[in-house]
Symmetry: C2
Subunit: 228 residues, 2 copies
């Protein structure tokens, strides 16, 4: 028989909001200040122990709601961390199943913020509890990879958007400029976008064609696990 | 404090081998017959409880070696399964972290096979223990998705290969014919292949250019977790 393990479920949440200095959109993530030992006073991912009567995704959703007030549309399992040195004491074994969630800026704005719950620029984090700095580094890396081959960027946008708005999301996630003509070609070749037939008008610009993502492609891509 | 959880680590292994009837290459997977209750006599994924002194990936590698004799080059975490109904008794809570591995046919041939360890065609499985049928369905779905956007197919090939050999792997994984000219265009556009400068000669065919994958792209793509 195996030694029992303590299982925690935590969630990395990303939203795009303006950088406090540059005002350009960058990734932000909410963290929770630990109010007890170990690592008391340090910032940590929202999460907590797995409840006896809930599944993994349900635990992620619950702890997110409780700490940040968020109920993201995009909530997906990211990775299970279980190396030997991550429990607070050597006698304990702690495995964390990490979920990740992407929310739009409006959702992030409507969430809870308090002295113990605060949003940080994801590339400018304070010292974090446990191995949460590694977990965040991994989540950022996965997001920056996944934005290249999936419709994940849509989680930051409304139902319909212009190519310029979609490119701005990619640029904010990747933190680099993308050539507009190349971007348009790649997106068109991917076959993931459908024109809505409508246009964004107003301002000093020409009317811009609106697109939506092909809805036959799932936003959170769980295949046979959908609805589990 | 959370209720303790029993944590198991199991691995889905895939290899391409000829189908027993059609002789065309198809995905196979090794399973282990359970020699004790619950689900005694049913086939299950190779795996077992997490040892007190090993990380998750180490547990996957160890149980694989012990049951199948395999030490795959490609071993990656797939998903953590933790729904409430998956433990044998209602009093227990069982979470399984699943890894997946891809091996070449020669490696599969060199593995252990016995009355209690047998390879099956992945789309023609017997009744499986626990929720392992769902886990295998999920792993197949992930593989068939991932082959489209990553260099994962290389795990089934040697160091260098022709475009026709790579296409045969994609066709065997996806179980459908691919147009050779379209396939060549997509692979060239992906920028993932590098010509070795050498050619495969022999047989009745023209010499065929050999390629290898760009080695700056990791086979098992773990980003900041590499070496963990």
């Amino acid at each position: 028989m195996a030694d029992p393990v303590t299982l925690a479920v935590s969630t990395v949440i990303f939203a795009l909001r303006p950088h406090p200095t540059t005002r350009l959109p960058v990734l932000w993530t909410p963290l929770v200040r630990r109010i007890r030992a170990p690592h008391q006073g340090k910032w940590a991912l929202p999460g907590g122990p797995l409840g006896a009567d809930e599944g993994l995704a349900a635990a992620a959703g619950r702890t997110l709601r409780e700490t940040t007030g968020l109920t993201p549309r995009y909530l997906e399992q990211l990775y299970a961390f279980g190396s030997l040195d991550r429990a607070p004491s050597a006698a304990e074994r702690m495995v964390s199943v990490i979920y990740w969630a992407l929310v739009r800026a409006e959702e992030a704005d409507a969430g809870i913020e308090s002295v113990n719950v605060r949003w940080f620029v994801a590339d400018e984090l304070p010292e974090l509890a446990f191995d949460h700095a590694l977990i965040l580094e991994y989540a950022l890396w996965r997001l920056r990879n996944k934005v290249e081959y999936s419709r994940i960027a849509a989680a930051f946008l409304g139902e319909s958007f212009t190519l310029a708005e979609l490119r701005a999301v990619h640029e904010a996630v990747l933190q680099r400029r993308l050539d507009p003509a190349n971007f348009r070609r790649q997106i068109e070749a991917s076959g993931r976008l459908v024109p809505t037939g409508e246009f964004r008008t107003g301002g000093r610009h020409r009317p811009a064609r609106l697109f939506r993502h092909d809805e036959s492609i799932e936003l959170a891509d769980n295949g046979p696990l959908t609805g589990l």
